[in-house]
């Protein structure tokens, strides 16, 4: 038995005991973590078993409620998906996550979900109705042949896959199957999430999915004898954010168990295990950006739209997901090395211009935002984003994101002449874990 030297004092001894306990816990935790973490965190440059496209935007001439009129700007998202496994077919389950806001929200009736008109702000609704963000999922399943690439627009999906034997198309490497439904609403904004599964729809410990999204907008032609507006076409592309599955993990094959991103989040409940383990969410996102209103040296006035989504999801329980809010802390650095901070609340899906993060939505107060070039005094900055709290038990508070830059004509009120999209940088990993539930919890 070790006798402490009395000159240390009880306080130092307590600290030593705490350090020893922490080391033991860390060591035992690391022994488990050694098997669960394949890559240090999610990546957009590797094929994966679970892929997220955080920004899907649709508003076309085919909208049944708000069709884009001639002379207006239609937007759609082209999605490319590839099975990088050149030796075998893969099955993929996907979910459209519909984050549209509706006047008066949505209500589940005997005939199904009934929603008010799609809106952006309260002013879009009749007096007395608020513009409420919803959270509804719509899933579909497909099978891709060995090494097969496909592409489809979010608005229309793909009713017939190349190499689908049902339609008499015979490919040497196997059969494709299934159909891709278009987004459930037009206009639409939300996400697409896809998981590689087996024939029983259980996630598999394989990494063969590669996905990209390109958001394309163009002017709808005006039929003669109307006057054609000056044409503007924009295209912005980003890579899907992939979570690599741990190929040594034995899945629980219980559909009520979640996909664990890193590890099972705290408080998941007795009897809950990981259906599959994937790389963890990034601990911190890093965004290199122009401050809103900056004049780019290549021309145009720039503002940035940031899309943030929670890493954790409950795809089987829309009510739980709709109530799930993550608080994201932001640290902003300008080129003078000066640091500022802000935060954003992310419920299901947050799409915001940078200068609307700390001001009222809309252009009114943007010149006072800490994301404004007039406030910061330099053209570019770095913003670090970290989810810090807010998750219900069993879900984590990791954050994923993608950024789009809009290049306006002569000022921010002018038309957008070009767009870019890019993946956010990331660092560290979230040891607390995140979870994606695919089934309704009992």
């Amino acid at each position: 038995m070790v006798t402490q030297n009395p000159t240390w004092g009880a306080g130092r001894g307590a600290v030593l005991r705490l350090l020893v306990a922490a080391a033991v816990l860390g060591w035992s935790a690391s022994a488990g973590a050694q098997l669960t973490i394949l890559a240090d965190s999610a990546a957009s440059d590797l094929p994966a078993g679970y892929v997220v496209l955080p920004k899907i935007v649709v508003h076309t001439t085919g909208s049944p409620s708000q069709p884009v009129q001639p002379g207006g700007s239609a937007v759609d998202t082209l999605i490319q998906m590839t099975n990088t496994n050149e030796t075998g077919e893969i099955d993929v389950d996907c979910w459209w996550v519909n984050a549209n806001s509706h006047c008066g929200g949505c209500e589940l009736t005997a005939t199904g979900l009934v929603c008010g008109p799609v809106c952006e702000v309260n002013a879009d609704c009749v007096p007395g109705l608020l513009c409420e963000q919803g959270w509804v999922t719509d899933d579909w399943q497909i099978q891709l042949t060995a090494g097969q690439p496909i592409a489809f627009t979010a608005s229309t999906g793909l009713g017939r896959l190349p190499c689908d034997f049902i339609f008499g198309i015979d490919c040497p490497g196997g059969d494709a199957a299934g159909a891709i439904r278009g987004v459930p609403e037009d206009p639409f904004r939300g996400e697409l999430k896809c998981v590689q599964v087996d024939d029983d729809d259980d996630p598999v410990a394989e990494n063969a999915l590669k996905m990209e999204a390109t958001i394309v907008s163009t002017i709808v032609p005006v039929p003669p004898p109307g006057v054609q507006p000056i044409g503007i076409t924009t295209a912005a592309a980003y890579n899907g954010i992939g979570f690599q599955a741990d190929e040594t993990f034995t899945p629980s094959q219980d559909p009520s168990d979640p996909l664990c991103l890193g590890s099972l989040p705290p408080g998941a409940g007795a009897g809950v295990n990981c259906n599959m383990e994937y790389a963890p969410c990034p601990g911190e996102l890093k965004l290199n950006h122009f401050f809103d209103g900056a004049a780019a040296e290549i021309g145009g006035i720039v503002d940035t739209e940031l899309v943030l989504v929670p890493c954790s999801e409950d795809l089987g329980n829309p009510v739980r997901s709709a109530a799930f809010e993550v608080l994201a802390q932001m640290l902003i650095y300008n080129e003078y090395e000066q640091r500022f901070s802000s935060h954003a609340r992310i419920t299901c899906y947050k799409s915001t211009r940078l200068s609307d993060i700390d001001t009222a939505p809309g252009p009114g107060g943007d010149s006072f935002s800490i994301f404004s070039v007039g406030v910061q005094g330099t053209s570019t900055g770095q913003t670090r984003i970290r989810g810090i709290q807010g998750a219900p038990v069993g879900l984590g508070y990791g954050v994923l994101g993608v950024a789009c830059e809009n290049y306006h004509d002569t000022n921010l009120a002018g038309p957008v002449l070009s767009r870019t999209a890019f993946n956010l940088h990331g660092d560290e990993f979230r040891p607390e874990g995140d979870a994606v539930y695919l089934e309704l919890l009992p």
Binding site: E86, P172, V216, P221, T233, I298
Partner: protein
């Protein structure tokens, strides 16, 4: 040392070892990437035919030094110029900086570019097409393993409503340094896995990450229509894809241009095979998919009824270097308006058949001023 003190020292050592081991079992994935802070940032597409803005950020809480190299990939008389121009930067903690390559950035508190000037950045000559490599170094000029840099490149121009407008953005390709102290990039322990003090970055998974064995690409055939534009009725639309590639390895000490040959193997949506061999990468490569080097195989109509394809770009022969690159897609609508969009190419990391993307060792040689 008394028995009690020795036991206490042992307990402290146990704590430190335990915490160190706990830290070492995670994050063992230092590699080529497009999202992680790294010690090297490579921008494969830098042009002064329109314009390019480079954004470079120090993500650490320490002041860092950076040594950057412009590589001019223009060809004169069919031969690559391979002129290298270097410059040094100093970035303070968490400092972002930016510059446009055609104008550079002076060190002047009175110029129009506000912010802490990181150092004199020379402009590239008119017509420059090539790449930029930035290496985090120690004050002495030797490579640093701190993995502090992230970067983006914005390529194109905006001239005004009705004019030529097209801007695309991609992330710099990062090369991470291995953890060192005997830990390799893949998390294994090997006494050789340390950063030495010479001017050579060994890309071998012992000092820095080794080159990925291939690049995965998705694309529409050259000249194919764009489904999103066509859906709006603004037809006929046309898609054109450009690949910009550089070899994975540079010699800035002896100024020897790095060259390699690549093959492309893939297939379209209906599994029709596609194969292109002997794609030459002489220091810098940039071509649309309709270029004769691809033998018409990646052109719309080559395979009837097919619009999209995928494949792997890999070294042609043992000893050839792999390449790094970005894909830039130009979409033109029926009214003549257009825009470009860039994406980073995915890395192919599956070793062995059929992907055959075995990692390749290479190096970046910095100037030796001793």
């Amino acid at each position: 040392m008394s028995t009690v003190k020795g036991l206490r020292a042992g307990a402290v050592a146990f704590v430190l070892v335990g915490m160190t081991l706990a830290a070492a079992t995670v994050g063992a994935d230092d590699r080529f990437n497009t999202e992680r802070p790294s010690s090297v940032e490579i921008f494969p597409k830098v042009v002064n035919t329109s314009g390019t803005i480079i954004q470079l950020t120090n993500t650490s809480n320490m002041l860092i030094n950076v040594h950057c190299f412009y590589i001019n990939g223009q060809e004169i008389g069919g031969a690559p110029v391979w002129q290298v121009t270097d410059f040094a930067l100093v970035l303070t903690r968490q400092q972002p900086t930016h510059w446009e390559v055609g104008t550079g950035r002076p060190v002047s508190p009175n110029d129009a570019t506000t912010g802490l000037d990181p150092g004199l950045i020379p402009p590239v000559p008119p017509g420059f097409v090539g790449s930029l490599v930035c290496v985090e170094v120690l004050p002495s000029g030797e490579p640093s393993a701190a993995n502090s840099l992230i970067g983006n490149a914005t390529v194109g121009q905006v001239t005004g409503l009705g004019g030529a407008n097209g801007v695309s953005k991609y992330n710099g390709i990062g090369i991470q340094a291995c953890p060192g102290n005997g830990e390799c990039c893949d998390g294994t322990m090997n006494a050789d896995c340390n950063l030495d003090t010479d001017n050579v970055l060994e890309l071998n998974d012992e000092e820095f990450a080794a080159c990925p064995g291939g690049l995965l690409v998705n694309f529409a055939f050259e000249g194919a229509p764009d489904a999103a534009i066509d859906g709006s009725g603004n037809t006929p639309s046309v898609v054109s894809t450009n690949w910009s590639l550089v070899p994975c390895g540079f010699d800035f000490e002896n100024f020897i241009p790095t060259s390699t040959f690549l093959t492309f193997n893939g297939h379209d949506e209906f599994e029709a095979p596609l194969s292109v061999s002997s794609v030459p990468i002489d220091c810098y490569f940039s071509a649309d998919l309709g270029d004769p080097v691809f033998g018409n195989q990646l052109t719309f109509g080559f395979v009837t009824g097919s619009t999209y394809a995928t494949g792997i770009l890999r070294p042609q022969a043992p000893g050839d270097l792999p390449a790094l690159g970005v894909e830039n897609v130009l979409r033109t609508a029926g009214d003549g308006s257009s825009d470009t969009a860039a994406t980073n190419m995915h890395f192919c990391t599956e070793a062995g058949s059929p992907s055959d993307c075995d990692k390749v060792d290479s190096e970046i040689r910095l100037p030796n001023f001793e």
